[in-house]
Amino acid sequence: MNQTDLKKSIESIIFVSGEPVSLDKLAQVFPDIERSEIRNCLKELLNEWEEMGRGIYLANISGGYQFRTAPGSSDHITNFLKRVKKFRLSRAALEVIAIIAYKQPVTRIEVESIRGVDCSGVINVLLERLIIEIKGRKEVIGKPFLYGTTGEFLEVFGLKSLGDLPTLKEIDEISQNLETGIPAIAEEPVQQEEPLP
């Protein structure tokens, strides 16, 4: 293997790993290659990635090598991660969503009386994430806001399809399929294998 290929392979391995990869580890993967040559490659790679000045670079961290995002994009990354996290809601948030969904339009006080705890924090987060919205005000003393769910909520929970319930007969059918659906040995040995990465 020439040096270019070796460097590419090292890059690939470090990339796939996620965790820092030590020189020792790399030496194990390339038993035919001198340790000094691998060290040399790593040194060059560190320089090359620094010079390229891309959004990711190779870092020498805690005795290993790891790809990291370049400093400077952290705000955008946080912004992105926040959006990815949009659908990851806490248990508390779930409860509040459920209460609002079934009792809407509903006030914060009503939600709290069901949950028995303060919910203002959670409600603000849900408003921010567009899962609930203010539907109006309740005509009682203090005129509190009334909350309800949004279209985004329906989307997240895939609610439309839940109306399409199967009949008893169809469930029977499923159970029958369960029995006949056991993979015949002659057909398919896939189950015993590892899952796809």
């Binding site: 796939v16 996620g18 990851r88 779930l94 409860e95 969904a101 319930l165 056991i182 057909e187 990465p197």
Partner: protein, 254 residues
């Protein structure tokens, strides 16, 4: 298959030596193989010869203790039928007479198209074989102690039920299935809703672990579907394919 380590006991009778047929993926695949082996024109299959060889293969498979699925026998019967049709004397030769082989040839050609397409799929850079992606750090993505809500639709619910059933069906012993179940769907529904209400939430699979029969299992699942329809419970999943959680959401409706 008869090879045994000296000193080792006989093979467990519960593990029959049924071997996967690696060479052929089904009867049509076997037929295509035979046609190719005999260098026949697919549009002009010598049915008698192919039928004979096909049946020889099935016999061989039996001798070798390979499982011969019913699908192979279906095609064998079809071949025999075509063969006999072709042997019938033709009193009047009609120009438009259908070739008894036409239907089979059409099927073989269609199968061939998808067989080729399957190979073509592997022609690219296959993830996990040729190329790899970075497994993102769960920490990087801030996935911690938070339940990720994924849209859980009915189909995934049914899939989860089926997977669970597949995995655990040995637990519902056959002799339990004939126990006469007197519980009705309404009664079961009441039981299920009480259980979920008490717990607040319950793992999808845990709901079924106490089921003692297939009937119980199915009726419990039906109750669950009914409760979803009534908006009394909700199903959330932590990620696609992972276990689902049934969350009680209340029986008050506006």
């Amino acid at each position: 298959m008869k090879n045994q380590i000296p000193g080792a006991g006989p093979l467990e009778p519960k593990e029959p030596c049924v071997i996967k047929i690696n060479l052929f993926e089904g009867p049509l695949d076997l037929l295509l193989h035979l046609i190719k082996k005999n260098e026949m024109d697919i549009y002009d299959i010598k049915v008698a010869a192919i039928t004979e060889q096909y049946i020889e293969y099935l016999e061989l498979m039996k001798v070798l203790n390979l499982e011969v699925a019913g699908d192979y026998l279906v095609i064998a019967a079809e071949l025999s039928l075509i063969k006999s049709k072709m042997l019938l004397p033709k009193p009047v030769i009609e120009e438009d007479e259908d070739d008894p082989r036409a239907e089979l040839v059409k099927r073989l050609l269609e199968y061939q198209v998808y067989k080729d397409a399957a190979s073509d799929l592997l022609g690219g850079e296959v993830l996990g074989r040729d190329v790899f992606k970075r497994e993102p750090d769960r920490e990087d993505l801030g996935i911690e102690e938070e339940v990720e809500l994924v849209p859980v639709n009915l189909w995934s619910l049914i899939e989860a039920f089926r997977e669970f059933y597949d995995r655990r069906k040995e637990l519902w012993a056959e002799d339990l299935t004939f126990i006469i179940e007197e519980i009705t769907l309404d009664e079961k529904l009441e039981q299920v809703v009480n259980r979920i209400r008490t717990l607040g939430e319950i793992g999808f699979e845990r709901l079924f672990t106490e089921c003692k029969s297939k009937f119980d299992l199915v009726i419990t699942f039906l109750s669950l579907l009914e409760l979803i329809r009534m908006d009394t419970v909700q199903i959330v999943g932590e990620s696609p394919g992972s276990s689902m959680i049934i969350v009680y959401s209340g029986d008050n409706h506006f």
